[in-house]
């Protein structure tokens, strides 16, 4: 009886785990890399804590045409769980050219998560990396 109860419990756990995994973790589809060509930069070239950094993003399609009217949501966070992220939106300054300012709060490795939404398209994510130094 005891063995049967244990087997039923383990089976229930296993089924629950499988159901949870298939329900919430479906594979994401990758779109061709060329759909959005992103080039980016930052000013100043050395990112420090003492002043805000201007991040610039240039968007082009695979035919090298500038992409306008894109909504770019920016989230900057350290490559360590539990650090407070910084949120911003990049605004278009010229053809295909977007800018935002962020003042990083800690030294070290940072990740920049961009969610780029083109008019009438699904959002696309890009992840960039940079370092903040003294």
């Amino acid at each position: 009886m005891k063995k049967l109860s244990v087997l039923i419990f383990i089976a229930a756990l296993g089924m629950g785990a499988y159901h949870f995994k298939t329900r919430f973790y479906s594979p994401v589809s990758l779109i061709p890399q060329e759909e959005i060509v992103l080039t980016w930069g930052h000013d100043p070239s050395k990112i420090t804590l003492s002043a805000p950094t201007k991040f610039t993003f240039n968007l082009k399609d695979h035919r090298q045409n500038f992409i306008n009217d894109a909504q770019i949501d920016v989230e900057a966070t350290m490559d360590h769980a539990g650090m407070v992220p910084l949120f911003s939106k990049a605004t278009q300054k010229s053809e295909g050219h977007y800018e935002t300012n962020l003042q990083v709060t800690m030294l070290g490795d940072w990740l920049l998560f961009l969610t780029i939404t083109l008019p009438g398209h699904k959002p696309i994510k890009k992840v960039l990396k940079f370092q903040a130094s003294l």
């Binding site: 756990l13 490559d79 800690m106 490795d109």
Partner: protein, 436 residues
């Protein structure tokens, strides 16, 4: 609280932690590949560690009580009872110390915190190791001799406000069957476990090697075992002879582990600060030590060997336990920093709460004084023990100086800016993902 109630809560907590472990494994293996976006890295390295040390400080060793690994082990022991006893030559803390140091080193070298997949595999590895050991060897061999988290909890719980002890010692004195240690047998079959870490309740002093499993309470026919409140650190005021442990002055392995525990706390905090990166750059530039393994090894030797060699005399070994308050509060100061500053950073990661990004955690203006307060409490605790334990004035002054140095060093480390580098190699590469 009645024993039956405590046992019910214990099983409930174990099931909750087991389900949480499974969910964290799934999230770690199949969730977002970036640490700040993955609930596994967040909950394990920020919330679990923070809650662990706070629970040890305010409540007791309830995390060992809630251990999911042991819960699964007990389930599987229904099918297979271990036959062997843990080897006598290994009936000490050396294997546990080795695993603890390996874990600390791996944490820094592989930047474990920055990889959800590795974090998930650590949880899986823990289950596998615990099951292999405890399905091969009798009693709680994994808990007593190996588990790095358990060893950390045992030392930390010497400062907890609760302990498992007899309600009425005179009842124990009249007992001749010792079920708390031997368990309960019916027709030669063990129906209830006794203490699997060999802590005999009438002779038990303090929390070392106690997992709060309450098997002793469950087995006691007189319902004479309970969780009682104690003065934190009281068990360290004298060199008690402890059941299942002996006296600390005769346990070189435990003395060594207390040193590793304390200086390891300093090292763990120091490794992610700016000065650590400066040293790394200096060694790379001037000594051509570009390999991070060598750099880390140097750091480990400096903190775990060099500093103790300078600050501690082997002749004063019986005062080594006075390091525990300082050591524990260094860990507490470090882990509580991450826990309090990143308390609600999981909220944007939960889809239904994605918009709520206003309050992520407590600001540094609140957290920093708390950190300093913890360090000061640890310093006071260590100094108090120096004066309560038996020692000559000369030794007391020497140890007081040691604690002052440790306190100032820990204060300096906690004031340094954080600078975590070298984590990108453990992150996933760039990719373009389309999300719906």
């Amino acid at each position: 609280m009645k024993t039956k109630t405590i046992l019910t809560y214990k099983h409930l907590f174990q099931v909750i932690f087991l389900i949480a472990s499974i969910l964290l494994i799934i999230e770690g293996l199949w969730g977002d590949v970036y640490a700040p976006k993955n609930l596994t890295t967040l909950f394990v390295w920020i919330h679990y560690r923070g809650l662990l040390v706070l629970a040890l400080l305010l409540l007791g060793n309830y995390f060992c009580m809630s251990c999911p690994f042991i819960f699964v082990r007990n389930l599987l022991r229904v099918f297979h009872a271990p036959k062997l006893l843990w080897p006598k030559k290994l009936q000490n803390k050396w294997a546990g110390i080795f695993l603890f140091i390996c874990f600390l080193f791996s944490y820094e070298y592989f930047s474990l915190w920055s990889s959800p997949a590795i974090t998930a595999w650590i949880i899986i590895g823990y289950f596998i190791l615990a099951l292999i050991i405890d399905l091969t060897f009798k009693k709680a061999s994994f808990c007593k001799y190996l588990c790095p988290i358990g060893q950390f909890n045992f030392l930390s719980s010497t400062l907890s406000p609760t302990t498992v002890k007899a309600k009425n010692i005179s009842i124990c004195e009249s007992c001749t069957t010792y079920e708390c240690l031997n368990g309960v047998k019916k027709k030669s079959v063990l129906t209830k476990r006794g203490c699997e870490t060999f802590l005999f309740i009438p002779k038990k002093t303090g929390n070392l090697d106690c997992t709060f499993c309450m098997d002793c309470a469950d087995a006691c026919p007189y319902d004479n075992v309970t969780i009682a409140t104690v003065t934190p650190g009281e068990e360290l005021t004298e060199d008690f002879k402890r059941a299942g442990v002996g006296s600390l002055s005769n346990r070189f392995d435990l003395q060594f582990f207390i040193i590793i525990f304390t200086f390891g706390g300093l090292l763990n905090a120091f490794a992610m600060t700016s000065p650590a990166q400066t040293i790394k750059t200096f060694l790379g530039t001037h000594l051509l030590m570009t390999h991070s393994f060598l750099y880390l090894l140097s750091l480990f030797i400096l903190f775990l060997v060099g500093l103790p060699f300078i600050l501690i005399s082997r002749k004063d070994a019986h005062l080594i336990p006075t390091l525990l308050p300082m050591g524990f509060f260094i860990w507490l100061s470090h882990y509580s920093f991450h826990f309090l500053t990143g308390l609600f950073t999981f909220i944007p990661l939960i889809p239904s709460l994605k918009g709520a990004t206003h309050f992520m955690g407590f600001p540094l203006s609140i957290v920093t004084p708390i950190q300093y307060g913890f360090l000061f409490l640890g310093f006071l605790g260590s100094l108090t023990l120096v004066w309560t334990r038996e020692a000559t004035s000369k030794k007391r002054i020497r140890w007081a100086i040691t604690h002052v140095v440790l306190f100032l060093l820990s204060l300096w480390i906690m004031t340094q800016p954080m600078e975590m580098r070298g984590t990108f190699t453990k992150s996933a590469p760039l990719e373009t993902i389309c999300i719906s």
